[in-house]
C-alpha cells in the first residue's frame, strides 16, 4: 500500500481489516481443531454410544443395553487388578526417577567443560522407541545369554540363571528397571535446566545470611524448582499410566495376567477378545476420568505459574 488513503478509503480498509482478522483467526485454527475433534470428541461420543450397546465377538447387538457394560466393569476383578498393577508401577517408578534424576542434576549442575556431550549421550535412552527399550532389556535379561545374569554371577561368585521375565517375583523389578532406565534421563534433563534457572542472587543472599547448604537447598532451591518438577511429574505420571510398550516387549502382560497394565488389558479385551462394547465402556471411563484429572491439574498449575 502506498500513498495516503482518502477518509472513506481508510474507513473501508479498517473495517475490512478487522473483519478479515476475525475471519483469519478462526479460519486458521479450523483444520487443526477439526482433526483434534476427530481424536478428542469423536472417540468419546462413539465410545459412550457403543458402551450402551452389547457388541462382542459373538453377536452384534446394537440395542440399548443400559449400564450393563458398566456394571460388568465394576465387577471385573481382572480390570481392577490391571489398574492396581499400573498404579503400583507408577508409585514405585516415579519417585525413583525423580530422586535419581535430581541427584544426577545436582552432579552436573556446577560448571563442567564437556557437559553438553554428557547430556546428549544421557538423553538417548529417553529418545529411543519404548518398544525397542523393552526389547533391549529382554535381551539383557536373558537367563543364559544376557549380561545381567553374568554380572550378578560375578557378585554371587557362581553362575546365576535368573529368569527375569518369567518368574513371578522378578517380573516387576525387571519392568521397573527397564522403565526407570529409560525415563530417568527425562527427569534429569528437566531438573538440570530448572536448577540452572534458579536466581543466583537468592542462593548468594541465603549464604551470606548464614544458611547451611542443606538449608539453602530445601528452603530456597526446592520451592523455586517446584513448579517445573510438578509438570515433569504430571507428564511422567500420565506416561506411566498408559504404559504399554515396555511391558509388552518384556512379558506381554504375563506371566498369566500378573503384569497387565490397564492399557494392555484394554487392548486384549478389544483386539483379542473382541469385547467391543465392554472395551468401549472402559475407553469412555478412562477418557473422562483422565480428562478431568488433567484439566484440573493444569488449571491449578497455570494459576500458580
Amino acid at each position: 500500500m502506498s500513498g495516503p488513503l482518502s477518509a472513506s478509503e481508510a474507513g473501508m480498509g479498517f473495517r475490512i481489516g478487522l473483519f478479515a482478522d476475525r475471519r483469519f483467526k478462526y479460519l486458521v485454527i479450523a483444520p487443526a481443531v477439526f482433526i483434534l475433534l476427530f481424536i478428542g470428541l469423536f472417540p468419546l461420543i462413539y465410545s459412550l454410544v457403543v458402551s450402551f450397546q452389547n457388541i462382542n465377538m459373538m453377536e452384534e447387538d446394537t440395542s440399548f443395553s443400559g449400564l450393563m457394560q458398566y456394571r460388568l466393569l465394576f465387577q471385573d476383578l481382572r480390570l481392577w487388578q490391571s489398574l492396581g498393577h499400573t498404579l503400583l508401577i507408577t508409585a514405585i517408578a516415579l519417585p525413583i526417577e525423580l530422586l535419581i534424576g535430581l541427584l544426577m542434576a545436582l552432579l552436573f549442575l556446577e560448571h563442567m567443560p564437556g557437559r553438553p556431550v554428557f547430556v546428549s549421550l544421557l538423553v538417548l535412552p529417553t529418545m529411543i522407541a519404548p518398544i525397542v527399550a523393552g526389547a533391549t532389556w529382554r535381551l539383557l535379561f536373558d537367563n543364559r545369554y544376557g549380561p545381567i545374569n553374568q554380572v550378578l554371577g560375578w557378585f554371587a561368585g557362581e553362575p546365576m540363571t535368573v529368569l527375569w521375565v518369567i518368574k513371578a517375583n522378578l517380573v516387576y523389578p525387571a519392568i521397573l528397571l527397564a522403565e526407570i532406565w529409560q525415563w530417568t534421563p527425562f527427569m534429569f534433563l528437566i531438573l538440570l535446566a530448572a536448577l540452572s534457572n534458579v536466581d543466583k542472587n537468592l542462593t548468594e543472599a541465603a549464604e551470606i545470611d548464614g544458611a547451611s547448604d542443606w538449608r539453602i537447598f530445601w528452603r530456597i532451591v526446592m520451592p523455586a524448582i517446584w513448579p517445573v518438577m510438578a509438570i515433569a511429574l504430571l507428564i511422567r505420571g500420565l506416561d506411566l499410566f498408559r504404559l504399554f510398550d515396555v511391558v509388552w516387549a518384556l512379558t506381554k502382560g504375563g506371566p498369566g495376567t500378573m503384569t497387565e497394565t490397564i492399557s494392555i488389558y484394554t487392548y486384549i479385551q478389544g483386539f483379542r477378545q473382541f469385547e467391543t462394547s465392554y472395551t468401549a465402556a472402559i475407553a469412555f471411563l478412562v477418557i473422562v476420568m483422565l480428562s478431568v484429572a488433567v484439566i484440573f491439574a493444569l488449571r491449578r498449575m497455570e494459576i500458580t505459574r
Binding site: 500500500m1 563442567m112 522407541a129 526389547a135 549380561p147 532406565w181 528437566i190 517445573v228 510398550d245 487392548y267
Partner: protein, 295 residues
C-alpha cells in the same frame, strides 16, 4: 592514589600457598565429578551398546554362555539379512509415515498456534483442552477410531495411519509453537501490518523466519514421537503397512527369538534418533518438558 601493585605482589606470596591449595581442592572435586559422570553415562549407555553389539555378532557369539561382550569382528550380516528378506521396507514405511504426518502436523499446528498466541482464540479453555488431548492414553482413543477405520476401509493403509499420527501429534505442535510464537515481540508483526502486509504475509515474512529454530526442534520431536510409536501401528496395521517397531515384535517367537534380527532392526530404527538428538541440542529440554522449562 591508585593501588600500588608492587607492594601487592610482595604480599601475595603468603596468599599464594592458600590459593594453590584451594585450586587443588577444586581440581580434585572436578575430577571426582567427572569420574561419577563417566560411570553414570556408561551405565545408561550400556544397554544401547549391547543392542548394537548383538547386531554385529555371529549367531554363535550371540548364543554364547557366558555372553560375549565384544564380537571378534564387526560384521553386518544381520543387517544384510534384513535387506535381503525385504524387512527393511518397514523402516521405509516408518520414515514415510512419520515424515508426512510430521509435515501435516507442523503446518496445521503452527497456523493454529499463531491464532492462539496472537488472538488468544478460544481463550484458556481451548488451549487447556488441546494440551489435555496429548495426555489421554492412546488405547482409549484408538479403539473407536479403529472401528471407524474398519467402516471406512482405512485399516492397514498409509493415509489411515498418517492421519492418526497427525491428529495425535497436533496438540504437541500447537502447544510448543504457541510458546515459541509468544516469545517473539508483537511489535515486529504490528509494524509489518502497519506497513500494509496481510496476516498471511506477516506469518510468512515476519513470524516464520523468527521461529525457524523452534519450528525445526518441534518438527524433530514430532517426528521422533511418530517414529517411535508402537501401539497405534500395532492396532491400525496388518500386513500391508508395517512400521519398524511392530516388525521388531514379530521377531519375538513363541519358541525362539530371532535375536539378531531384533537387534539389527532395532539398531536401524534407532540411528535416526541419534542424528535427531545431535541436531536438537539446544532445544532438548524445552521440547521434552512441553515448554515448561526454557532450558
Amino acid at each position: 592514589m591508585s593501588g600500588a601493585s608492587a607492594t601487592g605482589a610482595a604480599r601475595g606470596g603468603a596468599g599464594e600457598d592458600a590459593r594453590r591449595r584451594r585450586r587443588r581442592r577444586g581440581r580434585r572435586r572436578l575430577a571426582a565429578r567427572y569420574v561419577a559422570a563417566i560411570l553414570i553415562t556408561v551405565v545408561f549407555l550400556f544397554p544401547i551398546y549391547w543392542l548394537f553389539m548383538i547386531s554385529f555378532k555371529t549367531p554363535e557369539e550371540i548364543f554364547h554362555s557366558p555372553p560375549v561382550w565384544y564380537p571378534a569382528r564387526i560384521q553386518f550380516d544381520n543387517y544384510a539379512v534384513l535387506f535381503r528378506d525385504g524387512d527393511v521396507v518397514t523402516v521405509w514405511n516408518s520414515l514415510f509415515v512419520a515424515t508426512i504426518s510430521t509435515v501435516l502436523a507442523m503446518v496445521l499446528g503452527t497456523l493454529c498456534a499463531y491464532s492462539l498466541a496472537r488472538f488468544k482464540t478460544g481463550g484458556d479453555n481451548l488451549a487447556v483442552w488441546i494440551i489435555s488431548q496429548r495426555m489421554i492414553p492412546p488405547i482409549a482413543i484408538v479403539f473407536p477410531v479403529f472401528l471407524l477405520y474398519v467402516w471406512l476401509g482405512w485399516v492397514d493403509t498409509y493415509h489411515g495411519l498418517i492421519l492418526l499420527y497427525t491428529a495425535f501429534n497436533l496438540p504437541y505442535v500447537i502447544w510448543m509453537m504457541r510458546g515459541y510464537i509468544e516469545d517473539i515481540p508483537v511489535e515486529l508483526e504490528e509494524s509489518a501490518l502497519v506497513d500494509g502486509c496481510t496476516r498471511w504475509q506477516v506469518m510468512a515474512r515476519v513470524v516464520f523466519p523468527m521461529v525457524r529454530s523452534g519450528l525445526f526442534a518441534t518438527a524433530v520431536f514430532t517426528f521422533v514421537f511418530a517414529w517411535n510409536d508402537f501401539i497405534f501401528a500395532l492396532i491400525m496395521t496388518r500386513s500391508e503397512i508395517t512400521t519398524y517397531p511392530v516388525q521388531v515384535t514379530h521377531y519375538f517367537g513363541a519358541q525362539s527369538n530371532f535375536w539378531a534380527k531384533i537387534a539389527a532392526m532395532s539398531a536401524l530404527g534407532t540411528l535416526p534418533i541419534f542424528i535427531a538428538v545431535a541436531f536438537l541440542q539446544r532445544y532438548l529440554v524445552r521440547g521434552i518438558s512441553l515448554g515448561a522449562v526454557k532450558g
